[in-house]
Symmetry: D2
């Protein structure tokens, strides 16, 4: 069993009709629905307005892989929640960071950079796989189209990723490192670029396939209680 917690800011979907039409119960519920088709996934959701953002330590301790979508309210996530997520990743929890969460507190704390990028609403995206042997690319075609989608363009201020899996092309003239992995401590992180709240990308079967694969890939090998710097005896 893989325990998945899907965190969503869940603000756009409550106030904007156009977005509500795409994700009636919130982006998190759409993700929960397609992930729920996997019999070995146990799924929970949490949102910004839940007490403690729905992410007390007990939930994180019971989570194998955390999915994070946020956009307009990154600043409303308390620093202690972001620190708790960061610590959980270092101690083994997997983290999947979606779209506008490139500037979320948990992600930027873990990568150490600003996460800034170029953007523009309403473009056409084609996602290419440049690492077809990677587990996250399993069953995904060599390229697929999302139209319309928001454009995200380089320079994307992230560290050099451990692995580059997808690169996006945009009709408007930009490219973007769209699927990238980072290891931090005992935990694995996958950033995936789609989808803008105003576009139905989480209903796309290839986007769903990538996120499903990423959950399996990010599952912890080992969880530890604490990262310490111990004084040790000589071995010889």
């Amino acid at each position: 069993m893989i325990k998945v917690t899907i965190w969503n800011e869940f603000l756009h979907e409550k106030t904007e009709e156009k977005i509500k039409a795409i994700y009636p119960d919130g982006i998190h519920m759409t993700i929960a629905e397609f992930l729920g088709k996997n019999d070995d996934f146990v799924i929970r959701t949490a949102t910004l307005d839940d007490p403690d953002c729905g992410l007390p330590q007990s939930v994180l301790d019971d989570t194998d892989v955390l999915i994070w979508w946020g956009h307009m309210a990154h600043h409303r996530v308390p620093d202690e929640v972001a620190a708790r997520v960061q610590s959980s990743v270092l101690r083994g929890m997997g983290l999947i960071v979606l779209h506008s969460a490139h500037m979320s507190k948990p992600f930027t704390r873990l990568i150490g950079t600003s996460g800034t990028l170029k953007w523009r609403d309403g473009d056409k995206e084609r996602i290419w796989c440049c690492n077809p042997g990677h587990p996250i690319a399993e069953g995904v075609p060599e390229q697929f189209v999302l139209d319309p989608e928001e454009m995200y363009g380089e320079y994307f201020d992230i560290p050099q990723p451990d692995e580059l899996v997808f690169i996006s092309w945009f009709k408007g003239g930009e490219v973007f490192r769209s699927g990238v992995t980072f290891r931090r401590g005992y935990g694995k992180i996958f950033y995936f670029r789609p989808g803008h709240e105003g576009n139905p990308s989480y209903h796309n079967e290839n986007v769903q396939k990538v996120i499903t694969n990423a959950v399996r890939w990010a599952k912890p090998i080992k969880r530890i209680d604490e990262l310490v710097a111990p004084m040790t005896e000589a071995l010889e």
Copy 2:
């Protein structure tokens, strides 16, 4: 001083009028001309039809950085010449691999993969920098256009590069890892995607800037005589 040897297959330019018009004395001479503006570069050229491809061991031993352009006659480069180049790189010589040399013998021997990719003549290319702090990107704008240029598209069968410096966008819908570095042994390798023999890309100031920067970056730190697997005494 940096000793640069520019190797060119030099076949297209001798037989096709359209190409001769762009590179009257061969691609190697155009590259020699713009690199020659650097007072600290000592430049030599060599071509396929020279005895021993113009690359006897003595020339390689006297070369800090070798530039390689080839296309239709990769198979005519003798295996022993390719092996000599490979060995020189492992022992410290820098190597800059241009455009269609992605399938040249020296490059594929050094990377271990096929170097295959998608291609199409006559597209429009925009090259984006995704590593603006890299020495090879110094003074190069965040993006620049080559129009027309041949399209090269993913999946590009190369190992994960040590560093990804440039990504290309093509109007026809493709993306490509256009500027990538690899370390092999004591030597440094830079692959750079432009330019097709039928397009004037080596006359482009940004392409020239990148290749010039790459020469400085690929200059050896150290040259060694031989890579051996020595039996050694215990140190303690």
Copy 3:
């Protein structure tokens, strides 16, 4: 099911009594025995003296992960067999390279470097994990000892690995990148340093655990028939 083929040079074990005592039926049979405890592994062996080295294309096409041990007869492996293995890896087959196979033809063709290193018989080795979240390290302690083992020391002439999983310490004063991964084409490669034919390292439970994990990690995501460089139509 994961189809594993274990290739062993199988020369030392037939002629040297001391080695025969450790691996009576050959190193390949000891590896086959411990891997065989996994119900989902289907195991085959092949050796240098088999026709076509036991590795005709039909066997490679039916192999998910190939394990390779060789030492004194690298030169006796025909180039066409090495090329066949290389091509199979690029098209998806996993490859696990053991100990002295660091200078085997399939490995050096795939990495592009010489594979040279320092060595000395009869040292004490301690293998440390520096990537505890990696699937190949699952269930392996933070360090374990092999005593005696042959020393392998830096500089190890390999490309920068995609992932560094283990580093060895030797009593005689050396260190070594002992567990390293490389992706080539659609295939995954893991090099693991132990064990010398004169030491019983393949009877060690941690060595067995690492190799077992590596088989699961190297299993192909996708196999393809051919790597080609196709001319393609514009998508837009």
Copy 4:
């Protein structure tokens, strides 16, 4: 000219006689002395007890490469100073992190991990180069000894480095990734393991050579004013 600012916590050297004997004017002044032999370096120092830690924005803006040594008072560096250093690195400033600064605020903010490791006072260290073609290794022997030195051992909680240049061996049985590079934003970071305040490692010629090389390597290619996420117009 390369403008170097050397930051030192400067506490041990003021209160402990044994340490004062090794670094009479502080570790920063010893580093300033050997770096000062380079005619093209302009050197400044700053310490914890200086106003604003000696690192107001004006100093950082006038610094090409910042060197950081800290140990017992990481917590006394204000968060705003650490944030200022982080931001300066992302916008191009080089950073060299020494020894116990593995847990300093600027470093852990930039790498996103805890920086924890094993440690023990009074061991013998041998530093091996595993990347002899790297500019930071120029002129450094394949291995050199520091005896005594404090032991630092794996698992060292850092992200996978962009480049691994040095690995340490310790007589007590440990290994350590001792020289590692990270790119963050427009800036370059080098972590180097020596030296403990109670050992004279910064008087060692090879340690001095490595730090000198690192300064040249970390020099900015480009400085920018701000990292922003701009909305942009379509290019085509």
